[in-house]
Symmetry: D2
Subunit: 343 residues, 4 copies
C-alpha cells in the first residue's frame, strides 16, 4: 500500500504520549479537571512560554478556537480572519454557535497570510455606523497557515499592532503551532505574547496526541471563567480529563512537540525540493512547514494515485493537491512520493 499524505490528523499517537496516558491510567482520580495532571498544566505551560499563563485543556481544535473567540466577542462582535481560515471554512460555524451569532469577517491575502493593511481596511469598513453595524471584537490568525506558509514574528507584530490599535482581542489558531515554531527556530513566546497575541489554541492532536489541545490565555485571563463555562456548557468538560491533560504534559516534555514537528517539516522540505526541481509541477504557496500545495497536471496527479499514494485534491480542482507530512511519515514514505512525482 502507498503512503498517506492526506492529513496529519490521520496519524496515530506517538509513543511518549501513549505512555503518559498509560501512566495516568492508575487507580481513581478526581474528575472534571480536578486531577493532578490538569492541575499541573498552568505551571508547565507558563515555563514553556516564559510567563504566567492559564490553560484550558480540551479535546479538539475547533472547540479551543470557538471558546477563545466567544470569550472575547459579544454576539454582535466581528472577528477578522483570513478567508482560508479553518474557523471560517472548516468548522461548520462553531465560532458562530459558541459566540451566539458573532460574525467572522474574511480578509484576503496571498499565500494564506493576512496583511496588516488589509486588516486595517477591513476593520475600518465596519466602523462608524454605531449600533447598526457589528462591533469589531477580535482578530484570529492561523500559524502555520492553512496554505503551509509561516508568519514571521514581525508580520504577527504588525497584525497585532493594528488589532490593538482598534481595541481587538487577538487569537492565534495554532493547530500546527509546533510546525511553525520548528520552522522559525524561535521561542514559543516570540510568536505569541511577545508579538501581541492574547490567546493561543496550542494544537497537539495533529502532532502526536490522541485528542488534546491547550487553549492558553496570555492576556484576557479574566475571560478564563467564561471559557470554563463555555467548555462545560458545550459538553467538553470531560469527566476523565486526566487523559487529556497527561497528553498535554507529555507533549511539551523534553521538547517532544518540537522534535515531532521538526521531523514532519523535514520530510515536507525534502518533497518541496523535489517539486521545485520538477519540470512541470510547481508549488502553489510557499511551503514552510509540513504542508505542501502542488499545482500539476491532472494526469500527473492521476499517476500518483495509481501508485497508491494518498493525498487530497483541493475541493473543486483536479490540478491542485495538498500533501501533508506528519510525525510518523517515514523517509521511505517521502521517497516513495518523490519517486512517483519524478515518474
Amino acid at each position: 500500500m502507498g503512503a498517506n499524505f492526506r492529513s496529519d490528523n490521520e496519524t496515530p499517537v506517538a509513543a511518549p504520549i501513549w505512555d503518559a496516558m498509560a501512566e495516568a491510567n492508575q487507580g481513581t482520580a478526581y474528575s472534571y479537571a480536578e486531577d493532578h495532571w490538569s492541575e499541573r498544566l498552568d505551571e508547565a505551560y507558563s515555563e514553556l512560554f516564559e510567563r504566567q499563563v492559564r490553560v484550558l485543556p480540551v479535546a479538539t481544535g475547533t472547540v479551543a478556537n470557538s471558546i477563545a473567540l466567544a470569550s472575547v466577542s459579544p454576539p454582535w462582535g466581528s472577528v477578522y480572519c483570513h478567508r482560508n481560515a479553518h474557523v471560517l471554512c472548516d468548522e461548520s460555524g462553531a465560532p458562530e454557535f459558541f459566540g451566539n451569532g458573532l460574525r467572522l469577517v474574511p480578509v484576503d491575502g496571498p499565500g494564506g497570510k493576512m496583511q496588516a493593511d488589509a486588516l486595517a481596511t477591513a476593520v475600518h469598513a465596519s466602523e462608524g455606523h454605531g449600533v447598526h453595524s457589528y462591533a469589531p471584537a477580535a482578530l484570529t490568525i492561523t500559524q502555520a497557515t492553512e496554505c503551509g506558509s509561516v508568519y514571521q514574528p514581525d508580520e504577527l507584530q504588525a497584525l497585532c499592532a493594528v488589532a490593538k490599535g482598534k481595541g481587538l482581542a487577538t487569537h492565534l489558531d495554532g493547530a500546527r503551532f509546533g510546525n511553525a515554531v520548528a520552522a522559525l527556530g524561535c521561542a514559543p513566546a516570540d510568536i505569541t505574547w511577545k508579538a501581541g497575541i492574547d490567546m493561543l489554541s496550542f494544537g497537539a492532536s495533529k502532532n502526536g496526541c490522541m485528542a488534546a489541545e491547550a487553549l492558553i490565555f496570555f492576556e484576557q485571563q479574566d475571560r478564563w471563567e467564561i471559557a470554563e463555562r463555555l467548555r462545560k456548557r458545550s459538553g467538553h468538560l470531560l469527566s476523565k480529563m486526566r487523559y487529556v491533560s497527561s497528553q498535554l504534559l507529555a507533549y511539551i516534555e523534553n521538547d517532544l512537540w518540537l522534535r515531532l514537528a521538526s521531523h514532519a517539516n523535514g520530510q515536507a522540505a525534502a518533497f518541496t525540493a523535489a517539486v521545485e526541481a520538477h519540470p512541470e509541477a510547481r508549488l502553489e504557496y510557499p511551503a514552510e512547514a509540513n504542508e505542501v500545495f502542488v499545482r500539476w497536471s491532472a494526469s500527473g496527479f492521476k499517476a500518483l494515485e495509481q501508485r497508491g499514494i494518498e493525498f487530497l485534491f483541493w475541493p473543486g480542482h483536479d490540478d491542485l493537491a495538498r500533501f501533508v507530512f506528519g510525525h510518523t511519515t517515514s523517509e521511505q514514505d517521502t521517497q516513495q512520493l518523490i519517486s512517483a512525482l519524478e515518474g
Copy 2:
C-alpha cells in the same frame, strides 16, 4: 430651514394611512393579530399578487428580513446576499440572531446588484466539504437596491434560477419595493413569485406608513408557523396588532403605495437629471428609484450643507453622498436642492 434628503425613513405618516389607523381606533378589538384587520391581510395581498399568499404583519424591515431567513435556513446554513445588503451591513446581526448563528455570505457586484454568475461561484465555493462547511440555504436580494438601482425582471429570474438549481430558498428585501415597482411599471407579481421569489419583505414604513411591513410567503408556506413562532419569541407579536394591519391594508388600497413611491421617484429623477447635467458632480450608481448617490468635491457638498440642506455622507467619505426622496419630498424641496447643486 433646508430640505431633508437624509432618508425616506424620516418622513411622517401619509394621511390615508393615518386615517385608517384612526378608523381602527374604535372600541375594543381582539389582540395578538386576531383582529378583523389582521384577518383580512391574506386576502388583500393575495389579490394584489394575483395568487394565494400568506402574510405576517410586523413593525420593522429588520424583523421581516430576519424571520424570513431564519424560517428557511438551519443554524448551519449560509445565506447569500450582496456585500452592500442591509441585512449584512445595517442590522447588527439580526439575521444571525434570529437564525441562531446562520451565516451571511457577501457576494460582490456593480451598482449594488448581484449577478447570477457571481452567485453561482459563491455557492459553489462552499460545496463539497460536507459537514465541515456551512450548508447553502438561501438567497436574499434587495429591490430596489441599497445603491438606488433596480433589478430588471430577467435579472431576478437569472438569480433565482441559480438559487433554485442549488436548492436555495429565495427572499426579496423590499424595503423600497414600491419604488422598484413604480420604476419598472410592472405588476408586483412580475418581480416576485413569477421571477422565482419565495418570500418578500414588503416595505411600507419608508413609504408612508408609521411602522409596518408585510412578510409575504408565496412559496415556503409550511414555514409560516415557524415564522409566527419567531415573531412571538422575538417580542414582535404586538398585542394591538390592528394598528399595524390597518396600515398595511390602507397602504395597498387604491394603489396608494404606488402613488407615493412614484412621487418620490419623480423627485429623484429631477435631481438625477440635474446631476447628469452638472459639470463636476456625477452619479455614483444608476439612479433608478428614489435614492441618488452623488460623487462630488468635498467643498461642493460643504456648500450644500451651508445652505441647510440635509443629506448623508457615505461612511468614511467626504466626496460621496446619498440623497433620498420620500413621499413628502415637495417639488420645492427638490428645486432647493437643485439650485444649491448648481451653485
Copy 3:
C-alpha cells in the same frame, strides 16, 4: 353587544396619546431614536422617578422584559420568577431567546406573589455546584401580579434584599405598573428603586397607548448599551421611533397614566364588591388592581356568555374566569356585568 372584559390589551388608544402622536406627525424627524421625543425620555422619566434614570423605548412588554433580563444574565444564568409569571408562561421563551439560553426558574407562592423565603430556598438550591449548575443571575417580579394582586412596598423590599444578598440583579415587570401604583397610592419610586429594583418594564400599551413600553434602568446603567444592542439586533429599533416616544411622553404627562389606571381599578373594585356579595361566586385571588379572577359554576359563567359578555376562562377550567377592566371600561359596561352576575 355585550361588554368586553377579556383583556386590557384589547382597548383602543386614549385620546391624549393619540393627539401626541398626531402632533409628532409633522414633517421629517431623525430616525432610529435620535428624534426630539426620544431624546426627552430620560429627563421626563427621571423627574417622575425622582432620580436619574435611563430609558429604552420599545414597542412591547415582551421585548422590554427580555432585554432587561438578557442584559444582566449570562447564557448560563438563572432568573427567578413566579411560576405564573408572564415571562415564563406567555412569551414563548423570549427571555431564553434574547438571553441565549438563560434559564427561568419558577418559584411558587400564593395569590401570584413570590415570597422572600421561597426565593431564598430556590436560589440556595442551585448554589454550591460550581460550573455544573446555572449561575444565579437575576430576579424578576410582576407588579401588579398576573393574579390581580399587588405587592406592598415592604414585600418588594424583602424580595430584593434576598436577591441583593445573593448578588442578583432585580427587575420589575410592570405591564400593569400604573394599576399597581394607583392601587397603592404610593410614589413610583417607592415600589421601584427605593425598594431595591434595578430595572423596570414600565407598561403603557395596556393602559391607553398603542404600542409603547419604557424599559427603565435605575441601576445597571452600564448595561444600557447592551440593551440598546439587543433592541437593534432583535429588530426593535424602529426607524420612526418618534411615534413610540411621543406616546411615552404623553403617557406620564399630567398623571395621565395614573388617571387611566385609577379608572380601571375603580371599575374592577365595583365588580369585586359584587362578587364578594354574591352567594356563590367567589374571588380566586385578592383583587387589588384591575384584574378579577372569579371561581363560579360553569353554568353561571355560561349565562354570562349568553348575555354577550366577553371574558376569558382560565386555560383548562370552566369554573374559573378572568375579568379585566381597562381605561375604556365604562360604568355601564361594569353595571351590565354586575347585573348579569346577579342573574
Copy 4:
C-alpha cells in the same frame, strides 16, 4: 489510603478497552469518523439491540444528551425531565445551548423517578395557549436514575405512552445504562425501543471507558444528520474518532459492559445490605444499581472520612451522602467501607 466511592467517573480505563485503543493505534486512519472502527458501530449496536439503529459516537454524556434533545425539539420546545435529572442540574444548560433556548421542565417524583400521571399533568399545563407557550417536544428519562433507583420496563412503557400520546419524542439518558440492564437482567431492547424510547445516550465512560458515549437512534433516524451537524458545530467531531469508536466496540464485545456493571452493582448490593442492617444509618432511596444514598448522622459520616474513605455529601447536607461503586471497586474496598460503617 482509603477507598474512593466519590463517583464511577473517577475510575480508570478497563484493560480490554485499553487494549482495543492500542490496537487501533496502528498507522494512519481516515479522520472525522470515516475510519474502520466508526464504520462498524451501526452494525455492532444493531445486533446488540436486535434492530437497525444508527449510532453517533461522542466523548461525553452531556453532548450525547444535548444533541439528542436538540435534534428533536425546536428552540421553542419544552423537554420534560425529572427534577433531579443530570440534564437539568449538572450540565450548566448544555441542552439549552445546543437547543438554542429550548426549555427543560422539571417533573417531580419519588426516588428519582418520574411517574406517568405527573408527566401527563406537566404536559397538559403547557397546552392550550398556542404561540404564547412553549410547544411540548420531548421527554427525557434517566436510567438508572440519579438517585440509584431503576425503572422497571412497564414504568418506562407508561411514561413513553403518555409522551407518544402527546406527540413527544423520547430519550433515555443512559449514563449508567449498563448498571440498569445488569440490575434488571433484561435485554437492552426491553428498556429502550420496545418500551417506546426513540433515542438513547448509551454511557460507557463511567463503566470502563476513557471518554466514549454512543448516541443511539432507534426512531427519529431522519434526525441523525441534524445530530451530526450539531456534533461538528459543537467541536465534538474528533479528527481521530477511531479512539472513541474502538472503545465503543470493545465495550459491548463479549458482554464486557454487563460484566463491569454487574461487578459494580454487586459491590453496591453488599454495602446496601450493610446499611439496611445498620441500627442508625438508612437508605435514602431504593439502591438498585451502583449508587447508594445514605442518611446518617453527621458524626457518623465524619468518622468514615477520618478513616480515609472518600465519598460525596449531597450539596447542602451533612447527613446525606452518596456512595458510588465502579468497575474497579474491589471487595476489599467495599469491606473497608462496611467495616467503617459498622464502627
